[in-house]
């Protein structure tokens, strides 16, 4: 219910407005002085303000200025009497939304409030869309391309979890595999799709900045907090918040996030009241988060709340059948974008691209295609068009584990353990978890495989 603050020193005006607005389902409340009004705008959530320009000894213009200092986005409708229209125009220049002359009719009030609140919603949507388009530009594409078994399973999981709009989701996968696209797809297919999708990379900001981004702050919460800031949880209300690189989140912030998941409430920095939120949390990590838990770098209780529905996006080297459609997609995309006529990949070039192990996953493939389209004008991509790392790459089956021991030494068991775990995980991915097939693929006795799968928590061997 929208909260509408009425600031007028005439009790009759306040009561009249409260009655009209209350009848229309809003939550009106009032004050007769500017100080209380500014304080209210600073401390509470006010969707709209009716402000009398002539507040006895106080200047309505000064009150408006003070309100906008506290909250630059506050929507104010000026109430003006006969002979003060010039001041009302001055108020518009200072950022008031509109003005209405006394005496006013109930219908005029209803109309102006409806328009003002629609404007407020549109502003929020524009802000969210702008944020969304920026992040899409940053990620470089907005589609998931491929039909491998692994990706098909991800599509199935997306469809299933999208329906349950309250379930938290934890997306795991290496950098560049498209975790953000999975999060967007979940939002788009969910009943929340008409509401905001807000994302933030938890690894890209220092603790203090991330905290204010997520939770917002009140004016004066810290030295630079000149105005109130609405945090991303509030912006995402009704929709989805995507917390990328959650494993990078500071422990203190993990505690705050845990409270949000427990209570479904947030409190702005410097604020003194809790704000209810209804947000689906989708988190993603490229880290082995269980290791982070063991090393006390990630809270176990938070993980248990996030990991209700896990989705793993396999690296591109484990789903090579997705490479040709991805190449075709990005080739068309960049050929069009750069007005080139590159439309084909030679057999030899395709062989190299298929054999390359793509450590940067889909993002790297996209970048390679972009570079090729910028640098070359020929219709067909040949091996010579490709970066050295691609045609110089040894095939996977010939790869040696060329590891240079640093002067400070290594943790042998840990490195070998990681390699072992990765190989078993790959094999499990290829065989769909079939123990017999996995054992054959790795040339391991089943008992040994079972033992190692349990050791590395790669699923119970049945």
């Amino acid at each position: 219910m929208e909260r509408i603050l009425i600031v007028d020193d005439e009790a009759f005006i306040r009561e009249n407005l409260e009655r009209i607005l209350g009848e229309d389902g809003y939550h009106p409340y009032s004050t007769d002085n500017g100080d209380d009004a500014v304080k209210e705008v600073g401390e509470a959530d006010v969707d709209l303000v009716f402000l009398d320009l002539n507040l006895g000894a106080e200047s309505g213009l000064e009150v408006l200025r003070a309100m906008r200092e506290v909250d630059p986005e506050v929507l104010v409708i000026i109430i003006t009497g006969y002979g003060t229209v010039e001041s009302a125009v001055e108020a518009l220049k200072m950022g008031a939304y509109d003005y209405i002359k006394k005496p006013f009719k109930a219908d005029a009030i209803r109309l102006i409030v409806k328009l003002a609140l629609e404007t407020q919603n549109l502003r929020r949507e524009v802000r969210q869309l702008r944020r969304g388009s920026q992040s899409r530009e940053a990620s470089g594409d907005n589609l998931m391309v491929g039909s491998s078994e692994q990706l098909t399973q991800v599509y199935r999981q997306i469809r299933e979890v999208a329906k349950h709009e309250t379930s938290t989701v934890l997306i795991t996968g290496e950098s560049g595999t498209g975790k953000e696209l999975v999060a967007r797809a979940i939002h788009q297919l969910s009943p929340r799709k008409s509401k905001p999708f807000v994302e933030i990379n938890c690894g890209s900001l220092p603790f203090n900045l991330l905290e204010t981004e997520l939770f917002g702050h009140e004016r004066g919460a810290f030295t630079d907090a000149k105005t109130r800031k609405i945090g991303l949880f509030e912006e995402a209300n009704g929709g989805t918040i995507f917390l990328d690189e959650i494993g990078e989140m500071d422990m203190n912030l993990q505690v705050k996030l845990l409270r949000v998941l427990e209570d479904r409430k947030i409190r702005r920095l410097g604020g003194n009241r809790n704000i209810d939120i209804d947000v689906r949390v989708v988190a993603a990590t490229n880290l082995e988060i269980k290791e982070a838990i063991e090393q006390k770098g990630f809270r176990e209780d938070l993980y248990y709340r996030l990991n209700v529905f896990p989705i793993h996006v396999a690296p591109l080297r484990q789903r090579r059948e997705d490479i040709p459609p991805l190449l075709e997609f990005f080739l068309k995309h960049f050929s069009k974008e750069f007005h080139k006529n590159v439309n084909e990949i030679s057999r030899a070039a395709l062989d190299l691209l298929m054999r390359y192990h793509w450590p940067g996953n889909v993002r790297e493939l996209r970048n390679v295609m972009e570079r090729v389209c910028i640098m070359h004008n020929q219709e067909t991509i040949t091996p010579e068009c490709l970066p050295r790392e691609i045609w110089g790459e040894k095939p996977q089956d010939e790869a040696s584990f060329d590891y240079r021991i640093p002067p400070e030494g290594i943790l042998f068991e840990e490195i070998v353990g990681r390699l072992e775990r990765d190989l078993i995980a790959q094999a499990v991915g290829i065989t769909g978890g079939n123990i017999a097939k996995t054992a054959r693929l790795l040339n391991l006795p089943r008992g040994t495989l079972r033992y190692k799968m349990e050791k590395y928590e790669l699923g119970e061997a049945s």
């Binding site: 349950h164 309250t166 379930s167 209570d263 269980k290 209780d301 248990y304 049945s462």
Partner: protein, 78 residues
């Protein structure tokens, strides 16, 4: 000082498998539900009261089970 207390246990059958839902109350009166699939694979749902948290957890449990079956098709969860 009051601690977190186990207040209820429910057994829930899904596709022939039985799962345990434990409901706890915190000192502030709020509740949470927990199901342990394996020592490292646990899910927790939060709620204001027992009914709410049980309903929420019961709703999410099949989804959580199914997601794990998708990850590990040959794996039995319990």
């Amino acid at each position: 000082m009051k601690q977190i207390e186990l207040v209820q246990e429910y057994r829930c059958v899904y596709e022939g498998e039985e799962y345990l839902i434990e409901i706890f109350v915190r000192p502030d009166g709020s509740h949470f539900a927990r199901t342990i699939f394996s020592p490292r694979d646990v899910i927790i749902s939060d709620g204001i009261n027992l009914d709410e948290v049980l309903l929420k957890h019961q709703d999410l449990l099949p989804l959580a089970i199914h997601s794990r079956q998708m990850h590990f098709p040959s794996r039995s969860l319990n």
